[in-house]
Symmetry: D2
Subunit: 251 residues, 4 copies
């Protein structure tokens, strides 16, 4: 898949956008929705062409045209994974396999899309506690997704806990391991390839905390979008029958 | 998942079993079906408790009792992947995720089960040509799946070609790379883990060749079955909510 | 390399054995040395043929005959890595590359042998604090090295902290991640292959704690020894010049 | 390690430069040496600041200043690996561990530098035959090192054969697998990380063939240089002692 655009990266920030409508605490933190907090941060980069899409729009905002025109998806869902239509999941899945990127955030681990791409349950442990602090340790310094993380760790003062065992396939790259106040650990930054597409899972982002106002978190999401973009001149993947002697016929 | 049996490994060799009924050449090579060629080789090992199951049996021979009682599945399918009921695929998938092993053979790469576990298209190049010879090169000497392969390669005089790009997730382990007369290469022995289950993909086995009478091929399948068996005393994977302070309450 | 013995695994537990002579606390915990605590646990298995070797013996107890007769080395060193003669390191290195196993324990991360095999500095963070508790989380349930670890984690009440970044090559398999009271995390169980040899690094084991009397720790070391043993019938790795037409000449 | 320059990538193409002086065939193909063929191709990119260094210069052209000022090394050696001084190898090794990149070409697989970084023998099979053709198959489409390889393979009409088993640690990424006329396969494009440095091994480049005049080969080397460059703002890797309570003292 050639990039949808050679000059800018077309990003679609997809958000469930229901917690904000039901929970005043979330609405206060994210008056325009978490998707707008993320999208407005990304829009500061002139090379990113950012749109948003949400669950309760027609076709969840993911029409054929939108999906075909997207280079990288950012995905946040939680309470309504089951309300995402299978047909739309299939559409986005096919686009990722064909080369689009996916930055899957926090509770998106349980989305139909991520589970389909992983092939596992993606289950984990969790806890909401006001005293929970997350420390994210860098295990692959120099990876482009971590550009700008200048120390070998960073701290989020209040977050939900996610704990191992996290039922995912072995990551191609393990970038971050979190520790939590309660004693758990978690593989918080992981990458995989599926087909021609690149996937980055990034753990932080519970809806009742201001995580998507944290500059380091936003920087890593931005880096992830750039890393996951389709290559402009990637080898085409060809499949199917091929006759003996094809090598010599090329000349 | 504890092993279904502590003393023997319960193996179910699943086979589509349709080519043999339609193509006299296949029937001649495998008069009792490819599944019986494989199963009878495995039955020589007293620690393996081997049964077979085929597509046209009720529930494809994969009843709840059979699936629950299976430690390792061996799977061959080709022309009728679409005829395998989604409900049965789901049943076997859940058993693999819970810890059962899967040895996926040859054209099983396109089965619903394998694709579900991989999360990719599993597409590839192929060619049937009477002059095609496959050389399988060992890239991980000392792996238990390759026990008994005493040279650093082995040759199958006649086989179908499968060629890269093979659209799979990066293998956890790459054991064998094939070269073919026509110039293609293929990752012919690969392992992955999904949930608590172990998966081994092994390329050879086109229905019109006597591949499943080849002692080296049969030995590798047997090794794969042993490697993929559930561990008798594996850590249970626990998920869900966990309260702060659980560490101290354990004492 | 064929196994040095087909019937039993020949294990050499190598130990620096200096802390015990200088620090009464260590001597009290390990009156016969840490190597004897480990070796006596391994000797309970009739299929293991266990000897010990220590730094201050001639040739550090690692004569040519001992090295050639060893299937798996267990290695603990700390204060005297530099006193290990390069020639002896080379001898053991060559044996590992040829197929012997290595179980590298705790501060052995800084040994000449382990660094040579890794190709990196193997540096890390550390802290000795009486309030440090280590929780080791299983990230690959069902791996044979973790057989018998029945919960998804285990706890060591008092241990030295090791913290990321741990400067190692990406492990082939990541089995355990530790969290520490002070907030650090560490990749505590890792495997790699080098040549025909298998390597398992296992973190716990500070000399001032009774870690090598902990049944879970000892069980994992024993599992590691079995996992790292040479395969009895592994493919020989052949190198060097090979003439065109070798395939046809085989017939 | 910060990049030696924020604006351009400082590349040092190191070459043994002895075959050209002894073998007229090599001299005819590369009248200014293979290093100049590579360097002049790289110099077409204004963002690359390219110098060369050769074995018979003082300090092999790798003075402290040159090494400290290099972001990425390109390395070709063959007949004179043993003539490279250990002190210089150590100097370049330390620079790579600290974050510099290394693009290791062809027979550089046996260089002291590459073997030190890998920890293995790096041995392989080989053959020089006028009828040898190499087909390089893409196994990771979309990787930036393969940008511009528009088909899923490319062919080099005449090359030396390298065959498996190639005694290297499992690559972090496997980008290319070659097949040869004689039936061998080889992992021809591999990446690893060591410390903060990135390493790319790229197989083609026998001195008696015009491989380094092949535009695809040169493009992949250029891509490799960009991929291996130090990140400008990577997390610093800190090691050593750290006291309990450091987290709270940060506030």
């Amino acid at each position: 898949m050639a990039a949808a655009s050679n000059t800018r990266i077309n990003v679609t920030v997809w958000h469930e956008f229901r917690h904000e409508k039901k929970n005043p605490k979330v609405a206060e933190l994210y008056p325009n929705g978490m998707h707008e907090a993320i999208a407005s941060a990304l829009r500061k980069s002139p090379d990113l062409n950012v749109r948003t899409a949400t669950l309760d729009e027609p076709e969840h905002g993911l029409t054929k045209a939108v999906v075909a025109g997207t280079d990288v998806f950012v995905w946040w869902g939680h309470m309504a994974h089951k309300d995402v239509a299978d047909e739309i999941v299939e559409r986005v899945y096919q686009r990722v396999i064909a080369g689009a990127g996916l930055v899957c955030l926090h509770s998106g681990h349980f989305s139909k899309l991520f589970r389909r791409l992983m092939g596992t349950t993606c289950d984990l442990k969790w806890r909401e506690d006001p005293n929970e602090r997350e420390i994210l340790w860098v295990t692959k310094s120099g990876h482009p997704i971590l550009a700008g993380v200048v120390d070998d760790h960073f701290i989020i003062d209040h977050e939900e806990m996610y704990g191992e065992y996290f039922d995912i396939p072995e990551p191609d790259e393990l970038l971050l391991i979190s520790s939590f106040t309660g004693g758990e650990v978690f593989r918080s930054g992981c990458t995989w390839r599926r087909g021609a597409g690149k996937i980055f899972y990034f753990r932080p982002g519970h809806e009742t905390y201001p995580t998507y106002h944290n500059p380091t978190v936003l920087k890593i999401i931005e880096n992830g979008v750039r890393w996951a973009r389709p290559e402009a001149s990637a080898a085409k993947q060809t499949f199917g029958n091929r006759l003996m002697g094809w090598v010599d016929q090329k000349k």
